[in-house]
């Protein structure tokens, strides 16, 4: 499942991309440090509620996608299998050994899965509501070197062009009798070989054109450049950035003083 930017005029859409990015970072830090399934669920439901409010179905679709569900189940299973602490709930006899399921394993599994799901969904919500170009320009204005910023812009610019070229090359192979669907792995490897070379040649020819076009317009002339669209931060944007920073600090402080008991049971987070 592919999540993409969905233009809109909601409050979320109108927020400054940097403010949204700071919220996403804070959200991820907080959900990873929180050790309460109730809180994790509340965070997840909050994301779904916001997604519903801005009128997108991409976030809920992502939640029930095969990718998200597989990841959710796999994380729980791994925690159940490898966590040995806690009270034994059930012991499943296997051919080689018994699989002991503990309450810690189950709790940590569910919580870890909720954490990953929350991070995936908050990221999806960010993507759905943020114009990627506006985000890159915001990052460049915030200090990311513009040469790196334009690498991302160029990727976005040429993604659809290359997708079309891949399709054309594959069609050209088939129209010359190459049957990748019948020849299994060998056919697939042949197809990859016959696809990569034409695409590299095409990409290099585009690079030549791009270099002439960009250098011919003084790209790289100075360390800084002008941006005609200036970043505007409303009081709400500023409040969000400040709140995000506070949330990260408070959660880290809470974790440091042992406010979240379940963390103590996780071997990889146990205080030294």
């Amino acid at each position: 499942m592919i999540v993409s930017y969905q233009p809109g005029d909601s409050v979320l859409h109108r927020l400054n991309p940097m403010a949204k990015l700071s919220v996403v970072v804070a959200y991820c830090v907080v959900v990873f440090l929180l050790a309460s399934i109730k809180m994790e669920l509340a965070c997840l439901l909050a994301i779904l509620a916001i997604a519903r409010a801005i009128g997108t179905r991409q976030v809920s679709a992502m939640m029930v996608s095969r990718f998200a569900l597989t990841l959710f189940v796999m994380i729980i299973l791994l925690q159940v299998i490898f966590t040995r602490t806690g009270t034994e709930l059930v012991s499943i006899p296997l051919y080689v050994a018994h699989l002991v399921v503990t309450d810690d394993g189950l709790l940590i599994g569910v919580m870890s899965a909720l954490r990953f799901l929350t991070v995936i969904l908050i990221s999806a919500l960010f993507i759905v509501s943020t114009d990627p170009v506006a985000l890159v320009y915001s990052l460049m204005r915030a200090g990311i070197p513009y040469r790196y910023g334009f690498m991302v812009i160029l990727m976005m610019r040429f993604a659809s062009v290359f997708a079309l070229e891949v399709k054309t090359v594959c069609n050209a192979q088939k129209m010359r009798g190459l049957q990748i669907d019948e020849a299994g792995v060998k056919g697939l490897l042949r197809s990859i070989r016959y696809t990569i070379v034409p695409l590299i040649v095409s990409a290099l020819s585009r690079v030549d054109g791009l270099v002439v076009s960009m250098e011919g317009r003084a790209f790289g002339y100075g360390k800084t450049r002008t941006f005609i669209v200036q970043d505007r931060y409303s009081w709400f944007d500023k409040a969000l950035i400040l709140s995000s920073a506070m949330a990260i600090l408070l959660t880290l402080a809470g974790a440091a003083v042992g406010l979240y008991p379940l963390i103590q049971t996780m071997p990889w987070m146990r205080p030294i």
């Binding site: 170009v133 009798g177 002439v212 960009m214 250098e215 011919g216 317009r217």
Partner: protein
């Protein structure tokens, strides 16, 4: 002011006037915009020089057209004039180029960027941002100009190219002609004194090419910009050009007023002798029906790309398909070849429905040459490339060798058998593309824009090959923006418009019908 002409070329230049500029359109009293002295250049991996002893002066405000065969050095000269040689493309360079008083070898490329701008033939590769506004502001922003100045330049450049209405548009939504005009506008925003355009219309349909050329003419009329255009198709440009320069083998072979130089250039090509004789009026084809499309509909999202297209073609027909970009031509060919499935309608190939057939099964009877030669070159030698399809179809080794040898001999590719296909010239690659679909002898040959970027000699060779295939009973379908060739050599002309075939007739009748529809850009000689 003097214009240096290499002694070997003196005889070809108009000799009668004491002042060489009097023979050209430029005002002799104007300042020199470009001065080239004894310029020679060789690419690092080549033994021969791409440019040899070029000397010329171009005065401010002059409108110069440069032409010549593929590989004669036109584009290399453009890259040198704009400073990309030697700053981006290295090689062996001698001589001197001065543009706007700046020696290109000594100046930094970004300093040259405000003096000379180069616009290339493929607009898709030159647009580096996602909106028209960002694209036109890109250069002035890089110069770190104040915001107000950037915005002023953007407005001026868009107005100069008649693009003010496109300001808020996404570049991905633009047509080919609009993209090329946005590219030129983005160059104009740099306020260059010299604008060089390398085949700016070669990838465009006639309507879009007309848009671009009209904008360039307006630019020339209303600004004192020095404009240099590199082009193969000269008819339209020569009406307004001050000067025509013809290049051959890296040298300037002719230089002067278009009215004087053009006839000599045509004579040097051997006039129309290079092209095969057009077949003339032919009886209605009586061959077997090879391909039939019935009421094809195709949708891209909400847009109908094809709206009830029907067509029957027979063996021995040479069908030319014309129409604006986005009118449905390529979608139609894709449906015929089974690469796209129509939402409704049927395609029959030699009497059998193609629906459900594998592409490889269709490919056994239908050869398809795509627009970009590099997208369909897969092997490391020309011989293997021509044998590629036969190997996939399971032909025996001896049969493949015999078929490939025959094709290479017939199409003049034998000398390149062990060469890497990617080292061939553009014209040779196109010939190789055609050769690579022929050994398994498909009855239908489809070519998408086979003449783009080809000079007259290569085009003539390709036309001869297609006429030969037609004469041997093959059905040939080509999509082309070259109206002159389509009307001259095709036995049938189809005009697509908004997903429908609006004209389907023999060339002479098609000419009348297209005139009646008011689509004059789709008539021969329009551009």
């Amino acid at each position: 002011m003097t214009i240096a002409i290499p002694s070997s070329q003196m005889a070809l230049v108009v000799e009668s006037d004491a002042n060489p500029n009097a023979n050209r359109g430029g005002d002799p009293s104007s300042a020199v915009a470009i001065s080239v002295r004894d310029l020679s250049f060789a690419f690092p991996d080549r033994r021969t020089y791409a440019l040899r002893n070029i000397s010329l002066d171009i005065v401010e405000g002059e409108f110069v057209v440069i032409t010549g065969a593929s590989g004669c050095g036109k584009s290399t000269l453009a890259l040198a004039l704009a400073g990309y040689i030697p700053h981006v493309i290295e090689g062996t360079l001698s001589g001197e180029i001065v543009v706007g008083g700046i020696k290109t070898v000594e100046a930094a490329l970004c300093d040259l960027a405000v003096t000379v701008s180069l616009c290339q033939q493929d607009p898709e590769s030159q647009l580096c941002t996602l909106s028209v506004q960002d694209e036109v502001c890109f250069g002035p922003e890089n110069l770190a100009l104040p915001v107000a100045e950037v915005l002023r330049r953007k407005d001026d450049a868009l107005a100069a190219m008649g693009l003010s209405d496109l300001l808020g548009r996404d570049v991905l939504q633009l047509s080919g002609g609009e993209k090329q005009r946005v590219t030129i506008a983005s160059m104009l925003a740099m306020h260059p004194r010299v604008l060089i355009l390398d085949e700016p219309t070669s990838n465009l349909d006639p309507d879009a090419a007309e848009e671009v050329l009209a904008s360039i003419e307006t630019l020339r009329r209303e600004n004192k910009l020095t404009i240099i255009i590199i082009e193969h198709k000269l008819d339209r440009l020569l009406k307004t050009a001050d000067r025509l320069i013809v290049m051959a083998d890296g040298e300037i072979s002719l230089d002067g007023r278009p009215a004087e130089i053009y006839p000599r250039y045509v004579a040097s090509l051997g006039g129309s002798e290079a092209f095969p004789t057009p077949p003339g009026a032919e009886p209605a084809p009586e061959g077997d029906m090879t391909l039939q499309a019935r009421d094809l509909w195709f949708k891209y999202g909400e847009r109908d790309a094809l709206r009830g297209v029907s067509l029957t073609v027979r063996g021995g027909e040479f069908v030319g398909i014309i129409g604006a970009n986005g009118s449905g031509k390529t979608t139609f060919l894709n449906c015929l070849a089974g690469m796209s499935q129509p939402s409704s309608g049927e395609v029959e190939l030699e009497g059998g429905n193609v629906r459900g057939l594998k592409l490889s099964a269709i490919a056994r009877r239908m050869g398809f040459v795509f627009q970009n030669p590099n997208h369909q070159i897969f092997e490391n030698t020309v011989g293997d490339e021509i044998a590629f399809a036969c190997r996939n179809f399971g032909f025996g080794r001896d049969a493949i060798e015999k078929l490939v040898r025959g094709i290479m001999d017939d199409y003049g590719m034998a000398a390149y058998e062990r060469s890497h296909p990617l080292r061939l010239s553009h014209g040779e690659k196109r010939r190789l593309n055609l050769c690579s679909i022929l050994p398994h002898d498909p009855s239908i040959i489809i070519l998408d824009e086979p003449f783009i970027g080809q000079d007259d000699a290569n085009t003539a060779r390709m036309i001869s090959a297609l006429l030969h295939l037609k004469a041997s009973g093959h059905t040939v379908l080509i999509v082309s923006h070259d109206m002159d060739l389509v009307f001259r050599y095709c036995s049938r002309v189809l005009l697509f418009d908004e997903g429908k075939i609006v004209v389907d007739a023999r060339p002479e009748r098609a000419r009348d019908q297209i005139t009646a529809l008011g689509k004059r850009n789709f008539l021969p000689g329009a551009l």
